[in-house]
Symmetry: C2
Subunit: 365 residues, 2 copies
């Protein structure tokens, strides 16, 4: 294992999309969605263990999730959990982690990933990440992983490949320059993207070496770069928390995609295919779940279906659902709340959660 490999796992999300299964105090990354016994965060950490020394794994999160992370991943030391005092999107988050690594070393190959995505083919994931880290170790590039699309998904951004390899030699197969990043397309456009063969799903997994990402921050996000440069000597010291508390909230809220990747010229994409999903919606969970002959999915508990089709059910393990005459619904129960919602109205869940917050003052949020 390359001792210069580092991993930054972003675990600050508070998503309400899986309410009532996810809650403010227990967002998606800390849940065991598929009843495997490991939360998405635990699976993410486990996935990097063969590639990155455990002491080189950093998790960036909100202070309120610090304890649950230490509980779920007990072999992390507390100083490996970086706590954001405010939500400022991914660029300041990554800037903070980069400053932390800079305080320890000047030579690091870094992979950045979300804590709440699903990856089914771990061996292929390991091969891709290892190849990518070796590539970025030797080159001043910003590498992103692009997932070979399997359907015209409208929930993802897309990356358009450039046919050339740029001016570099020895670029491994599967890696090429990026022509453009795109926003989430409508269905028609997504179909064109997939058929063209030129577009990949933007996975939000980034790889680069320490000096390349520092240069990119200095060039495109100087405010963030300067803030962390000024605080770099405090990283890992008792002054770190105070400094971050004071400075972090003043930083611009901007994504690394928009703030750096779309602006830089040395951006490459590595085409990959390892059963990835961002688990962004009930629909994505439904598409991944084992279906009975009528297309019903039960994620964690037993279920009997009668005259029903296309439903996704998640109750607590050990419970039983008996369902008659229901179609295309989400049925989710957790901690005193039962949600029944047509899958097509999934985007409406946020509004329902807001209504519940207003009516019950956080009791069920």
């Amino acid at each position: 294992m390359n001792q210069n490999n580092y991993c930054v796992i972003m675990a600050g999300g508070v998503g309400s999309r899986f309410w009532p299964y996810s809650r403010n105090h227990r967002p998606k990354q800390f849940l065991d969605f598929f009843g495997t016994g490991r939360s998405l965060l635990q699976q993410t950490v486990d996935r990097f263990r063969p590639i990155v020394p455990i002491e080189n794994i950093l998790i960036v999160t909100n202070i309120m999730y610090r304890d649950v992370i230490l509980e779920q991943v007990p072999d992390l030391r507390p100083e490996q959990i970086l706590c954001e005092p405010a939500r400022r999107n991914t660029a300041p988050c990554i800037g903070y982690a980069v400053a932390h690594i800079s305080a320890r070393t000047d030579k690091a190959n870094i992979v950045v990933a979300a804590s709440d995505h699903l990856i089914l083919q771990e061996d292929e994931f390991h091969r891709v990440i290892t190849t990518g880290l070796e590539f970025v170790e030797k080159n001043d590039v910003l590498l992103t992983l692009g997932m070979k699309p399997t359907r015209p998904e409208t929930g993802y951004g897309y990356i358009q490949k450039d046919n050339g390899k740029g001016i570099m030699d020895n670029v491994p197969d599967g890696i090429c320059k990026v022509k453009t990043f795109t926003e989430k397309p409508n269905l028609e456009l997504a179909k064109v993207f997939v058929e063209s063969g030129e577009f990949l799903w933007n996975s939000g997994i980034f790889l680069w070496n320490l000096q390349a990402i520092r240069r990119a921050f200095r060039a495109f996000q100087p405010v963030i770069a300067d803030a962390f440069k000024a605080g770099e000597h405090m990283m890992g010291s008792p002054e770190e928390i105070d400094y971050i508390q004071r400075v972090f909230p003043t930083l611009p809220s901007i994504s690394v995609d928009y703030g750096i990747m779309e602006k830089a010229q040395n951006v490459f994409v590595m085409e990959a295919s390892f059963g990835w999903s961002d688990l962004g919606t009930w629909g994505s969970l439904y598409s991944l779940g084992d279906k009975d002959e009528n297309g019903n999915v039960s994620l964690k508990s037993d279920a009997l279906f009668y005259n029903s089709k296309g439903n996704i059910v998640t109750l607590e393990p050990g419970k039983l659902a008996v369902i008659n005459g229901l179609e295309d619904c989400i049925v989710a129960e957790a901690d005193g709340v039962l949600l029944i919602c047509k899958q097509q109205d999934e985007q409406f869940i946020r509004q329902m959660v807001a209504d519940v917050e207003i009516k019950y003052g956080g009791k069920f949020n």
Copy 2:
């Protein structure tokens, strides 16, 4: 209060119609359906307290429910709970209670009622029962209560009134002879019944004096009469249980309606109206529940409905249901089972319960 008034409450039902809310170990009569803090059995006992001395209340049930009854009605003495060793419908059940009363007295006015019905207007109920008990105290009649129908219900049997008062004088207003008992009608016939003004719902509430019902048993159910006559001297003694264990299962399984009321000539009906329901179906619960502007009912827990109508929801108190895009369904959750079922398929619940029994071996039954 007339110290000769007795009450027999039948509480042996095991109904699966309200599964998963009702269970084998916790049938309907022991449940607090409306979140009032009192089970249907407790409400039934409470309803008779102003009319019948507490020591004259007998409850006939299955041995497995003895403890829950003593727990729910702690001022009953254990010998007031009569335990049937087998289910033999209502005639042997009532015969057993009559034998018990005969062992204590030769003068009693008895009202027989189910333990799991709902009565909304208690004052009117008290007036009707008191009037009825006074009538049967003085007359050799078998009196049944007929409920003035409010809709063409197909779930009830009907009683057709006779215009005359028979040969008796001094029959109170509202009491008349019975022409016929009918089975549950289809909807068309039920409409005719209701429009005619001659038909009443058969409530299963009976009133008679001790000698009248003993005579009726001797005349129409001699096997049952003889069995309890032979055991009458053991009632209330240590031999009672052994005797009942031995003899009760040998008795014919027959209802008091079919076995006595339809055969006897001295049958009267008292027309009454006190907000009665047998709570026989989810549909009957639905029709009784408070509805929001879209006809949704939540019995015990909070619920928010969106684009939904005509649903009945019962979760445990303190829980919250959030429901979007659901119509005319039953949503019931209890003890690890969630049932979602179209109301029109309610009769199908028995089959589902049987399937669950086969698949999970009683774990959820």
